[in-house]
């Protein structure tokens, strides 16, 4: 399986070692009926290739875009997605929950 958290983190390590820019996005808080629990993660490389998930698929596109910024800047970011959240992205969770996703770069040092 290529979907387990441990496979995802191994892919992140392998991508980094192969010279890719890599970011890790992790669900850190959830309210209401969030599709994936805290600790769920998505890894993204600078090709835009990603593995894993932080939601049922509703906000992954937005997370990947933000992650590419994080890879470029090296600065971590906290993203929040919810039904009525229009501050950052017009992408909501159809299930009615709210999630916060921490996005960080995998750095050499």
């Amino acid at each position: 399986m290529l979907n387990r958290d441990e496979d995802i983190l191994q892919a992140a390590e392998a991508w980094q070692k192969a010279g890719h820019g890599v970011a890790l996005a992790t669900v850190v808080e959830t309210w209401g009926s969030a599709p994936r629990p805290a600790g769920s993660s998505l890894v993204i490389n600078d090709d835009g290739t990603f593995l894993g998930s932080v939601s049922g698929g509703c906000v992954e596109g937005a997370v990947v875009t933000e992650a590419l910024d994080v890879i470029a800047s090296g600065q971590p970011k906290m993203l929040e997605f919810g039904v009525a959240d229009e501050t950052a992205w017009n992408v909501g969770l159809s299930c009615g929950g709210t999630i916060r996703v921490f996005v960080e770069k995998v750095a050499q040092s």
Binding site: M1, E6, L9, E13, Q16, P76, V106
Partner: protein, 234 residues
């Protein structure tokens, strides 16, 4: 996350040792705590609580908002008996992200043709099981229907802290099994740990349906709070 932290997480997970990564979400500062170091950590109370629940989450400590990411080992399923039910159970468990191992000393049963892509050990339980390091993150099922194989396997499971033990057989078969195991030193508490008849009662008939009922019961044991799991199984 530093590459070194990520590598250490991967190493601990490959060795089936729990690990927790603590992140200060305000600035991205991070540190990793291995299971063996939790007892001496300043946050030991919070760390051991989250690990016990197997849950990641935010905490507040010394005015900081910290995210504790708990990496518990991947759940594993040890199937004793390379029987027809196991041929359905092994791929189903893998689709649920379990690491699956099948043990059966009978080489006619434990053949790669019958179990493509599944680690198979064609040895008796006393040889096959000790190297597997059956642990708290392991579900253990004995489905050979042969006391020569199932009984020693179950005795091994009792000695380990696995979160689920199940054995195939009717109530009558199970009563006889309980007597045999007690004669070999098993306690009433040990016997009570066995889920038998195995699986949730969903009227399963075919091997595939029985596999579903077994995985449903294992999932309940893994995920539901203890009392609720018992009600489901009843």
């Amino acid at each position: 996350m530093k590459l070194q932290t990520l590598s250490e997480v991967n190493i601990e997970r490959a060795a089936r040792r729990p690990v927790i990564v603590i992140t200060d979400t305000a600035n991205g500062d991070q540190r990793l705590v291995k299971a063996k170091d939790i007892a001496s950590d300043p946050l030991r109370g919070e760390l051991s609580k989250q690990l016990r629940m197997g849950k990641s989450g935010m905490i507040e400590a010394a005015g900081k908002k910290l995210f504790l990411n708990v990496y518990a080992p991947t759940a594993r399923l040890v199937i004793v008996g390379a029987v027809h039910i196991s041929q359905a159970l092994a791929p189903l468990a893998r689709s649920l992200d379990y690491d699956v191992t099948v043990v059966d000393p009978r080489t006619a049963f434990a053949s790669p043709e019958r179990f493509p892509d599944v680690p198979l050990i064609a040895e008796w339980p006393d040889v096959a099981l000790p190297p597997l390091n059956v642990d708290h993150y392991t579900a253990f099922v004995a489905v050979t229907h042969d006391p020569k194989i199932d009984d020693p396997a179950l005795l091994h499971a009792f000695a380990r802290d696995c979160f689920y033990i199940g054995a195939l057989g009717s109530r009558k078969t199970h009563a006889k099994r309980a007597e045999r195991l007690k004669a070999q030193g098993a306690s009433d508490t040990d016997i009570a740990r066995i889920h038998a008849p195995i699986g949730l009662n969903i009227g399963a008939v075919s091997p595939s349906e029985i596999a579903v009922s077994i995985m449903a019961e294992i999932t309940a044991e893994l995920r539901l709070p203890k009392e609720a799991a018992k009600e489901q199984a009843a």
